[in-house]
Amino acid sequence: MKDPIFDHIKHNRQDLDNAEPSDLLWQRIESDLHPKNKRHPLIWWMTAAAGALILLFFNVGNFEEQKPEELSQNQHIENLDQEPNFDQYPNSREVRKKYLRQQMIDAILGHHTSDYNFSHDMNPGFVRGRGVMRGASWKDLGYYLEQETGPGLMAGDMNGSTRWRAVTSEENLNRINYNYSNAPTIELSATTTSVPFMNISPGTYNVSIEGQQFTMGRVERTDDGKIDIYRPFRGNTFKTKVLNNQTYTWDFGDGINLNGGRSVYIEVDPFQHVGDYYSNESYNDIVENEFKKTLDEHLSTFSIDVDGASYSNVRRYINNHQLPPKNAVRIEEFINYFDYELEAPDKDAEHPFNFSHEIHDCPWNKSHQLLQITMKGQEIPKDDLPPSNLVFLLDVSGSMSDYNKLPLLKKGMKLLVNQLRAQDKVSIVVYAGSAGVVLEPTSGDRKNEIIEALDRLQSGGSTAGGEGINLAYKLAEEHFKKGGNNRIILATDGDFNVGISDQDELIKLIEEKRKTGVFLSVMGYGMGNLQDGTIEQIANKGNGNYSYIDNVMEAKKVMVNEFGGTMFTIAKDVKLQLEFNPAKVESYRLIGYENRLLKNEDFANDTIDAGELGAGHSIVALYELVPAKATSNAIVKSKYQKVELVDSEEWMTIKFRYKTPTGTKSKLIEYPVTYEKRSYSRNFLLSSSLAEFGLLLRDSEHKGKASFESAINHAHRAKGNDSRGYRAEFIRLLEMSEILMEEYEKRK
């Protein structure tokens, strides 16, 4: 039988295998095959000693031995994968929100009951989850949770279920796959006791959140007699507050031996810290651009910015269930974090980048228009890239020892090393107590030597400076590759006391070295003492990029996927200038780029520094426009001034200036823009929803009618094929932020 669909599938068989296994999968296999210091986690030992109940749901050994970054990585990927699975549940926004909120609470507890759904073999009206419950007297109760469900509900979704019961095993300590058909069943019921919370004595307690789930918490009594309570979250402990000032008791019924059959839980607030940083102003203040009247100022000039650090930094806050500090939100970096569907110019094109524009109704203000300008840099195949001379300047001070700093840095650098060619050179300089060269310039095909040097790196000592940066520049200059990519890559968590203590002097040095052709990029790691604004400034002065690395995916994105973009410059000092026509545009506002604004006269001044465009990189800028209403060609500006308008259909002229990587004289591109109604592109939907996201997080005075609902809607429509999952992740962040914002409002 002729069947075109299956012929099509057969012919495209190879293309179907488009999923990439996680980078961490091999590590899991390797650690199974070649275990290192196998240990029995305390919890396992205690369970066994109590002779009590089995942990049914997990191979505890594996779980405990997972490194923290692997855990967060798994969560990360799982988040990306959530989308298709959601189809089986009702799609309404409210249900989706409820589901996600539940997941965020589950994440606090570490055990995702809902991840282990499976259908019930004997009782089809139930779905089941697996979990571990803390019993009284430190006994762990492994259980299968059964829940009678209505349509669209799943385990973990408490609302609407008619009843819960836990099916447990009393024995079988070593059996992971327990046949539960003969297990005793106990009914769970939550009752509020009359025990006032304040009478509770310090110690370790079970903590419940919204009466649902449990984990270990700690109660301490402060010196002044008050009670503090802590709950864990992803390896950290957070001080939190008690809700309702009372404890809950869960009765386990008679079917199980749990020392009295009941245990006490303290109800805590899962979102107490949502606003901790929200109004914290330790980031460089961003004063948002205002609307400018075209008649007053018809020119608008700025430098491009290819950084995406603000986006990954903000992602870290949101994944920790906290709203980011408003000034950590740089909208142009949100927008430029993403790849857009743009065509790169040919090899022999006149200019090294393509450009285009779109004008549509502004999503958050229907009476305004939104102008999107896009640029796309020439793509250079990896093999044709000029040789690289990379000097890594690594902070190995004691504060870098956290799992999300030096270990993550090493992982990312190993990924990069795999990409290097024989003509590339890498050297490594470290600074901490003292600065030193740990890897002399080494050719990119001697990967083992580079990796061994990386493996030897250890953190320790204070950041007492030393000759770090001078040493790095010395190496870079000694092995300078003409026409190549000569760059110092500084990796730090903020203590970049690299030998020159005076900030201005440091910037002067970086600017000076930039002229010799050695550029400087910065990668930020970790949280806490990250000095975001200063780091960004240093990277800007060094003709470099600033990236914030919060997980392995981001390390891969920056070090591998963007190796061409972040590392190899195809045009430098790229400036934009827009000249608006007051007859068409009454006023305008540049969204973001606040610290990239240039004076109008600096546009044509080639001594003024501006941003670099890397190979394959895309740049997007947005202007919110207020269309002109006037029909007359003459506008009275003041008592003594009358402005005669030129008869033109043009809304504006867009001008670009750039230099070739080695050039000193800039080239000018200039083109006029008229308005025509066109359909929305996915690029526009994406950039405008990112801007809307930023306006909401900043609580901007220009946010108009911006809403998470509209941003989510647009982001969904912008999703496209999204092979790397960044857009799905963005939707996820929008959805989480909406919940966080609501929780924040409730607690204000």
């Binding site: 075109p4 669909i5 012929d7 599938i9 295998d17 296999i29 699975n85 991840d115 019930h120």
Partner: protein, 183 residues
């Protein structure tokens, strides 16, 4: 051709027999992507697929001495992966040979079908939405080249069940993939 491929990796396989971690990693990297996609299709979600990959590769490396080059290494490894997936599905009670949606949807006018616009992602998503049983049969038959007799043995079902599951899967897929694209 296939045996030639085996020879190419013979050295690696021999080193694996001595528990050489770098050879194990090299073998893993050679096969990881194809096997992962197979797992993903069989299991329907990433987490279970990764678990199966882990279990199966660990098992394969531990039992690599039993590989006697009667088949290609890839076929041997694939069989371990498939068995692991099937066991996992059975354990999770997700294999059900009766519970199929009753209405497979319209199947006429497919000769006119323009298939060129169907992307891999769309096809994968449609496969993912099949019930686990027919998804397993479809994957093994259409995409991995097993025949119904082998599938019946692997899944411990009858040949006719395998055939009927396969045609159910095709009906469901056809219905899913000929739906007008929503704009």
């Amino acid at each position: 051709m296939e045996s030639h491929v085996t020879d190419l990796h013979k050295d690696l396989i021999d080193r694996c027999k001595h528990n050489d971690v770098s050879a194990q990693k090299a073998i893993y990297q050679l096969y990881a992507k194809a096997m992962y996609n197979l797992c993903l299709r069989m299991m329907g979600n990433q987490m279970d697929a990764e678990d199966c990959m882990q279990e199966a590769f660990v098992r394969a490396f531990r039992q690599i001495n039993t590989f006697k080059a009667q088949s290609t290494f890839g076929a041997w490894l694939k069989r371990i992966i498939v068995n692991q997936c099937i066991n996992q599905l059975k354990q999770n009670k997700r294999l059900n040979w009766h519970d199929l949606p009753a209405e497979p949807g319209s199947t006429d006018s497919m000769e006119e079908e323009d298939t060129s616009g169907i992307s891999s992602d769309t096809i994968n998503l449609a496969i993912q939405k099949l019930p686990p049983g027919s998804r397993a049969v479809f994957t093994l038959k259409m995409l991995e080249g097993y025949d119904h007799l082998e599938i019946a043995q692997i899944l411990n079902i009858s040949v006719s069940t395998s055939k009927s599951q396969f045609s159910r899967a095709k009906d469901l897929l056809r219905a899913a993939l000929t739906k007008p694209v929503q704009s």
